[in-house]
Amino acid sequence: MKRLFTLFALAMFAAVPYAHAAEKGEAVVKAAVQKLVPSAKIDMVEKSPIEGYYQVIIGSQLVYVSADGRYVLQGTLYDTQDKVDLTAARMSREHVAKLDAYPESQRIIFAPASKAKYRITVFTDIDCGYCRKMHAHMAEYNERGIQVDYLFFPRSGPGTPSFDKAVSVWCAKDRRAAMTAAKAGKNPDPLTCENPITQEYQLGIAVGVEGTPAVYAEDGSRIGGYLTPDQLQAHLDRIAAARKSGS
């Protein structure tokens, strides 16, 4: 994003459009960002928590733009009173909508025997060491009432061995068994069939996955990275508690 700004900023407006009235702010900000990065698909322009600034969501990025369209802030905004990362919190709300929209039938689900207390979505890569380490804890996650929904994110991208392995696991008769075997280091029997791997990879990019494993809680926040069962449970308990207290 930063590079995009640098690239396109020279093509920037000679005259900055200033807002004439507060209600025009959104349109001014939208036009300013569009001029700055013509190729950007702006998903949302709305008032930000900071006086005089709007927030603009472009894919998995959030930037803050002054109401006159002149100042563009890219980074993390904290609320010192509630002690929260407002940027991440806002993006979590974007992510949760995208993640929830992804059908259960296309996930590889490892669920507890009894009713799940928590559900996490994990973007995974068969050839990633910490993904394998995480999978080795599966029984323990499940025992703690945590359901793990896997989506594939072969980091090397389409047309690579990791991607093909994901396809092979998806096309296996018993996906869960094939996943567990592959995570233990066994090369899956090469199979092809109609599969959602590309879709999952793109979803991963859309919600800001940069590495694997990428662990998302039900509120759309990314909580890891590799997490031991203790760490994972602590995160999920805290999120549940925060939700209960209404923050």
């Binding site: 700055l36 002054s66 905004l77």
Partner: protein, 243 residues
């Protein structure tokens, strides 16, 4: 500023109604990260914010003290990175303390530009850079080296001192950069001081190239003489004090 996120859940300090930038900044950061020490708190060119320097990091604090922004502010009307400009001013001030008598200077007759390069004899990219010293000079770029021997290179300290203490410092430097061991020699030298200056402005890698105005040049640009010239020309057209 990763520390802000780790300290996010640290205990709450009482909030204070305050008027000066110092008071607002101190109160806001104390709520977020009680153990940080604010070095500077001042007005910012970014509307609605004060700026605070904590260690070598710049963060923005909203004037009402409620919000802290950790990131980059850009003026879209001029394509200027306002955050980098603050850092550049700080580096420029620190460089002023490192006089010519503490540098090894390779300059053309009439330099168009001068860069300061923090260098380490045992760093491969530093050697690659010095390999091109004639090209830099021919383009009108004076290269002023200051020593920053890194701890990961045992012996680099000794080599820096030996080069500094050699009879022909520039020749000894060039030979050392070509792989010759300058041996051991002791005399009064500025190596400890230049290491301290580097640390004070957050420079912990080599080669680090700074333009005369303190702007940090990306390594891939600095290592290509023609690209470096283009970048220095661009910076000269865009003086720091108008940023």
């Amino acid at each position: 500023m990763r520390m802000l996120s780790t300290l996010l859940f640290a205990s709450i300090a009482g909030s204070a109604m305050a008027a000066t930038p110092e008071d607002v900044v101190n109160a806001a950061l104390a709520r977020l990260a009680p153990q940080v020490k604010v070095d500077v708190a001042q007005e910012s060119v970014v509307p609605g914010f004060y700026e605070a320097i904590v260690g070598n990091q710049l963060v923005y604090v909203s004037k009402d003290g409620r919000h802290v922004f950790d990131g980059t502010a850009r003026d879209a009307s001029t394509d200027r990175d306002m955050t980098e400009a603050v850092y550049a001013r700080k580096r420029r001030a620190a460089l002023a303390d490192v006089g010519a008598d503490k540098r090894i200077v390779f300059a053309p007759a009439r330099p168009r530009h001068t860069v300061t390069v923090f260098t380490d004899i045992d760093c491969q990219f530093c050697r690659r850079m010095h390999d091109q010293i004639d090209a830099y000079n021919e383009l009108g770029i004076a290269v002023e080296y200051v020593f920053l021997p890194l701890d990961i290179h045992p012996g680099a300290d000794r080599k820096s001192e030996a080069v500094w203490c050699a009879e022909d410092r520039k020749l000894a430097f060039t030979q050392a950069m070509a792989g010759a061991d300058p041996g051991k020699a002791a005399c009064e030298n500025p190596v400890a001081e230049t290491k301290r200056v580097a640390r004070s402005i957050g420079i912990d890698g080599t080669p680090t190239t700074l333009a005369a105005d303190g702007t940090k040049i990306a390594p891939q640009i600095a290592l290509a003489p023609a690209q470096l010239l283009a970048e220095l020309d661009r910076l000269a057209k865009n003086p720091l004090d108008s940023r």
